[in-house]
Amino acid sequence: MSNPNQGKSDVSPWGDRAFKGLTLMMALSVFVLIVLIGYELAHGSAKAMRLFGWHFLTSSDWDPVNEKFGAVPFIFGTLASSLIGLMIAVPLSIATAVYLTELAPLWIRQPLTIFIELLAAVPSVILGLWGIYVMVPWLRVHLFPFLQHTLGFLPFFQGPIYGPSVLAGGIIVAIMILPIITSVSREILRSVPGLQREAAYALGATRWEVTRIAVLSYAKKGLFGAVILGLGRALGETMAVTMVIGNSPQIAKSLFAPGYTLASVVANEFSEATTDTYLSALFEVGLVLLGVTVLVNALAQLLLKTFAGPGVKPQS
């Protein structure tokens, strides 16, 4: 079976096998990375886990001087800022996604989308900078007193107003997660088949009714996935939150009081941890953060993958 055109090229399958093997190894690096992250964090937390056990997750005493470490204030801070962020961002994002895909005039859609993608690209530290010197002073002088004045009967709107606070952290988290919830929701809404919409239009429905009946209810599961994805992003948000939340390791009694998140305490104190126990406690904080975000992200990915087909882009 000779052919004068053979040249010097290989006929054996070794080239194919080597190439496939190489690319396979590179793809498997994903699993290597997962194992690596889990292992290093677990290894680093070993000492703290041994010393404090479950107490770590139930004690609110963060005392580096006396080497007593409890993570409850940070868990509280992370949950509070994330929840506030979600409560603000989710309605705005989904409404915006609906506007972009269903209700907006065609000429607005592309420029608006570009703006939102630009917001997504703003690094966290820049938003934090703006947060410290523009947003927080404004909150302290305008919004917070207003809220206290109108909603002060509620316990968490009472107390002294400093500026840096759990609420400020929540607002900044909201700003950071707006773009991702909006763009994923937009992809979900776009992937709703046109047939659904057409059927509703044929019944004489207005544009909003078409959206409500044919689109939103169909997309419920995917939109929920988008929200969970936003939650995952909110939980891990570090720099911007650190710069406006006040960094005080106490469970805040009021929204205006300063707080502290899992990510912030690591960011602030990691390079200054003086003892092995201190460092190990911070590793354990990181481990808790990792565990929570991985679970939330896995849930979000499952929801998104089982709702939408190949039409939905993977979100970074």
Binding site: M1, P4, N5, Q6, G7, V11
Partner: protein, 273 residues
């Protein structure tokens, strides 16, 4: 029946052609192909003559494309594909264990329904890509082969001044002839064509058909077509497939004027299809 055949018939003197070479170009014995559990080809036995044009006709889903692709082992790209039986290329078993599909594909060229010149390459680069990526570096030989292949594909005069223009700047018909040139450049022994003119306008189609008649002097051509007039015009032999079975095979004149099987007659007269 006669209305199907054009007045000028290149095959009218089939009986007076010189006897074909002894070894058939492609011979299949008991060929069956399964995709998963579905049998797409059932027990096909056929001898395809060398230096002739053989047309494969039949309604959609009859397995004609699968049969074509089994000749250069392209059906194996489907992970669920399974094959039984044998195919020999000029006497060589192309499915034997020690034969790599890559080697088979260098002996058998293929032109697809939708022309697909590589978009990042120029016209000349497209023609020689098969040679270059298989290790041929001799510039002189490459240039010679480029002109030779483009002449054989009846494209040389139209592109000789812009060999380095991007391939996608050509028209649809020109792109398809470029793909033919690309396939011919590696000097295959058999050329497979899967509905090569179905996406082209009548003028471009005519050029392709003229080309086929020219090429058969040197190449064995197997062409799948759903256009029966095209089969009648350009081929020497015709095979009619139906639902995975080879129903009838023979000289084109006979198939179209005097088929032995009723199903064949129904198909070529347009009773179904």
């Amino acid at each position: 029946m006669d209305a199907l055949l054009p007045s000028t018939m290149p095959n009218a003197t089939a009986e007076s052609k010189p006897a074909p070479p002894a070894v058939p170009a492609v011979s299949a014995r008991g060929l069956s192909i399964f995709f998963g559990n579905k049998a797409v080809l059932k027990n096909v036995t056929i001898d395809i003559a060398a230096r002739a044009v053989t047309a494969i006709i039949g309604p959609s889903g009859c397995g004609k494309s699968t049969f074509l692709r089994s000749i250069n082992r392209m059906h194996e790209l489907n992970p669920d594909a399974r094959m039984e039986g044998e195919i020999r290329l000029f006497g060589d078993n192309i499915y034997s264990r020690d034969v790599e599909p890559v080697v088979v594909r260098r002996r058998v060229g293929m032109v697809f329904q939708k022309s697909n010149p590589f978009p990042t390459m120029s016209i000349a680069e497209n023609v020689t890509v098969g040679l270059r990526l298989n290790g041929l570096r001799d510039k002189k030989l490459l240039t010679e082969r480029t002109e030779q292949s483009l002449r054989m594909a009846a494209l040389w005069d139209e592109v000789k001044d812009r060999l380095h223009a991007p391939a996608i700047s050509l028209s649809g018909g020109q792109q398809q002839r470029l793909c033919i040139a690309r396939a011919l450049a590696v000097q295959p022994e058999v050329l497979l064509m899967d509905e090569p003119a179905s996406a082209l306008d009548p003028l471009a189609t005519q050029k392709i058909e003229d080309l086929i008649i020219e090429l058969k002097k040197d190449y064995t051509i197997v062409i799948v077509t759903h256009n029966m007039q095209q089969a009648a015009r350009s081929s020497d032999f015709t095979a009619f497939f139906y639902l995975g079975d080879l129903v009838e095979f023979g000289a084109t004149t006979r198939i179209f004027t005097n088929p032995t099987q009723k199903r064949t007659e129904d198909y070529v007269t347009g009773r179904f299809g």
